[in-house]
Symmetry: C2
Subunit: 531 residues, 2 copies
């Protein structure tokens, strides 16, 4: 028996449902999305983005291979090295390959993007269908800090990462385990991706995201996924989804395009996201911001298709706006909600799965502002028909903090959204005819047989939000929802049990990670992993 | 010169804009509403409600004149006096006139409801257009308690009423001053309506709501409005809007129908609202709840049209659901949001202005739960295209508390909504072409001429939500939004200045109130007011 055979046998040995966790089900939207643009309006945004790509162009920094690929596929590429002076006298250096692409060339590649795809999870009951009418929730991504009622704010550690990976695994309305749940600042920056991947793989059996901080880290991600899933399965369906941000405006760099290249060649899913704080990285008007977002997202997706046509891609949107008075980023604003809806319409226009939204807030703790702003993003997110919702739980302070209590509170809203998208049932049973036979005018339905039949399923049942009246609430300590959520997350971590993982696979993953740590510590070039 | 002439002259003497306050502008929705029901689905709800009205019927309690009116207009009316036994053995008494009406008879009257109307405000710049694509915000209505960070919760007084009337007047995104802002518990219950009306009229110059607690109180409302507006003006446009609740399920009583009758005869606007906590006052399924709501709302509106065809009416919805485990009412739930959207579709079907939503929460203080639940009602409210939003600011603990800080926090969201409904501008200026000439790829738009041109108007500017980073926020006292709002409401009350009111009108209003107080204290029958 070869090593290859042995691994294959081990993978097949993983029984579906071997983990204690029940398979996750993304939201399936039965309600049509709200559209804030007319068809003509969406067409104007499209045309403006085509003009931006053809006339302004995208700057590729420190990555000649990407510029070369665009050139070979018919784009105009020129080397620029110039100093630009702003109206206020400030100057900026522009150095790199400026790529200008026309609509026909671009759309040839955009048409090759699959409209739906399935991301594998190591427990197959947690496989996820992206695109169409599904909505998938994933935790917050990227914060350097963690927050809690217990300690306020502090720099995150690997232990925090493990905690959030456990919470994501346990949270029934979180479908995807996400990626950089927090920055594990206590680990050498070169090795962090290994620890984060090990955590996602060993502490959860939901789908996860790959590393994009270096092309070699992307290669490590693919290697670890192959140990877990096998190369053949990963050719049919991606096992890794990775977040490639544009360094907006109108720019991509070697780090992100280098990682994108690795994933595209391995046929793993790529989420291309312009990172826009309107007023700074894009103009302060939403039409221009949407056009720029469209140009940047399609450009990155186009590159993935040039490298490997048919690579699963997601059209990403991360969009906030500055506070004009202070320059601080604002979240949950009406302008951002409009752009979120508009972006969804653009992604649908190209039949590409859409990523946007989340439980966003600028607030530093889960206070009332945090609740208003988070729900003020989450309702538009779901009603826009977003397919992949990164930052669905845990986000605080504009993404600088992963909040333990915030995770629990946001998760409540995720649960509500899972109900909302089902719409209103219209069967005879839903019209409750027998209840009106039992209940006279002026009576009550509390004791009706119909009410009893629907007792368990009629309404969303809250896990952390509390409906007690003032007297009971006060008598029991007058805890606000921040304090209440504190107890919930601690109980979740206490109750956590890891999902089963084949010991041989675990062993190989650990061996690979040890091997790579050594290479990285000795600053040796990366060699492909052979067991 | 007769008294009548003198009053008329006085009224004309009121200069538009004499008050310091700028005229309020309701939201004008440029985005199509989200529809959760298909046309067939809405038709099913309609048909089910027609069946309820024809087969189950509406019970009119203690009010034979209304039963008689329905009978004369073709409804089947029978006297019922029976004991009904629930499946669990409990019993209930059903006593009154049971009215069964068919679709043709009902719809004959429903078609006479005006699709739009204007409510007069004593400052004409604050007149409000109801219906169509407008959305009007009014404060919380009805709480017996007030809440604040300073004292927790206590029973409300007339001073609290005055405070909320002042806040409503000063709040730029609150268009309508509302009605029972709090219950002034320190005033004799028989006289409260006089004090509340005097407060609305003298402390604000926005439109207000009338009393519905007794037919005589409705008459007092009409008399006071006539002193202020003149009878002729009030025949052309209503000066009073009043809230007539059904005592659901499928029941109206003498108190509400008695008040409705006074207003309909005076051609003042009537807001007919079934009061539904699904699972108790309606079945636990949303289809049945919507059908019942439709039946009750149309029945009440039909009565107003029978009394005075063309009376301005609003199709009301107040809809929450019980927590099945505790029986407590829940707010901001996904089921309620679905019903809110569905109700809007029904009202649009009949071309009747729609009332629903608000900043609802079950929470007792403005904490994170309160924010999530409030925004989780307010976003659906606005996106459903609701025309009149009672409870848009101040609601806490399921409507038991008018919260001072909550008012300020909710008002922030009202301001955001006023921006959201404008949609995305698509002019050449909105596409910011010159900004891309000034800003190279990889640059920033902070200093672009386009950004400077839009500096003041680009984004919603927060009044109480705060965008500071953690360091600044902590250094300045780490105030959560509850504490921040506390300072804001106190400053508003400190800065309050009353709008001008003709001294002669004020004098007559006070004289009328004194006269009525005497009648009420001496328990004399009400006589029509003659100066």
């Amino acid at each position: 028996m070869t090593d290859q055979d042995r691994r294959q046998r081990r993978r097949e040995g993983r029984r579906p449902g071997a983990a204690t966790h029940v398979g996750v089900q993304p939201l399936l939207q039965k309600i049509p999305p709200l559209e804030v643009l007319s068809a003509e309006g969406a067409d104007k945004i499209h045309q403006a983005s085509m003009r931006l790509l053809k006339e302004v162009g995208i700057l590729i920094v420190d990555y000649p291979p990407a510029a070369e690929t665009f050139k070979q596929n018919g784009a105009k590429v020129e080397w620029v090295e110039q100093t630009v002076t702003y109206p206020n006298g400030d100057t900026t250096q522009v150095v790199g390959h400026l790529v200008k692409i026309d609509e026909e060339t671009l759309m040839h590649f955009i048409k090759q993007v699959p409209s739906t795809f399935t991301q594998l999870a190591r427990n197959p009951v947690n496989n996820l269908n992206f695109g169409g009418r599904t909505t998938i929730f994933a935790p917050v991504y990227g914060p350097p800090f963690v927050g809690s009622l217990d300690f306020g704010r502090r720099r995150a550690t690997l232990e925090d990462f493990h905690n959030f990976a456990k919470l994501a695994f346990m949270a029934e309305h979180i479908h995807h385990n996400g990626g950089t749940l927090v920055e594990p600042n206590d680990i050498d920056v070169r090795e962090r991706h290994l620890d984060m991947l090990l955590a996602h793989i060993t502490l959860s059996d939901k789908a996860f995201m790959g590393s994009v901080t270096h092309a070699d880290n992307a290669r490590d991600t693919v290697t670890m996924a192959r140990i877990l899933f096998g190369e053949e399965a990963m050719q049919a369906n991606p096992a890794v989804l990775s977040l490639v941000n544009a360094s907006s405006p109108m720019r991509f760099d070697d780090r992100m395009f280098g990682a994108l290249e690795v994933y595209a060649h391995a046929r793993q899913a790529v989420l291309v996201t312009p990172f826009l704080i309107a007023g700074a990285m894009s103009p302060s008007t939403m039409a221009a911001t949407l056009a720029q977002q469209n140009a940047e997202a399609l450009f990155g997706i186009c590159y993935a298709q040039m490298l490997n046509p048919g690579t699963p891609c997601i059209y990403g949107s991360f969009l906030a706006n500055i506070d004009m008075r202070s320059g601080a980023p604002c979240f949950g604003t009406p302008e951002d909600a409009l752009a979120l809806y508009g972006g969804a319409q653009m992604a649908r226009r190209y039949h590409i799965p859409y990523r946007s939204g989340g439980n966003f807030t600028a607030s530093r703790i889960p206070d009332a502002q945090s609740g208003y702003e988070s729900a003020g993003t989450m309702w538009p997110t779901v009603q826009a028909g977003v397919n992949f919702v990164l930052h669905a739980a845990g986000w605080l302070e504009g993404g600088l903090i992963s909040g333990y209590e915030k995770f629990v509170l946001d998760h409540e809203v995720c649960g509500m959204m899972a109900r909302f998208v089902n719409g209103i049932g219209l069967t005879d049973e839903d019209f409750a005819w027998d209840a009106y036979q039992e209940t006279p005018p002026g009576g009550h339905f509390l004791g009706a047989s119909h009410t009893m039949r629907h007792y368990d399923t009629a309404f969303y049942q809250h896990k952390v939000f509390n409906m007690d009246n003032y007297e009971k609430w006060e008598a029991e300590g007058a805890a606000d929802s921040y304090k209440r959520a504190n107890a919930v997350y601690k109980k979740m971590l206490k109750d956590y049990e890891p999902p089963a993982l084949d010991p041989a696979i675990r062993e190989e993953l650990l061996a690979f990670a040890a091997h790579r740590r050594q290479e990285l510590q000795e600053r040796k070039p990366r060699k492909e992993w052979k067991r």
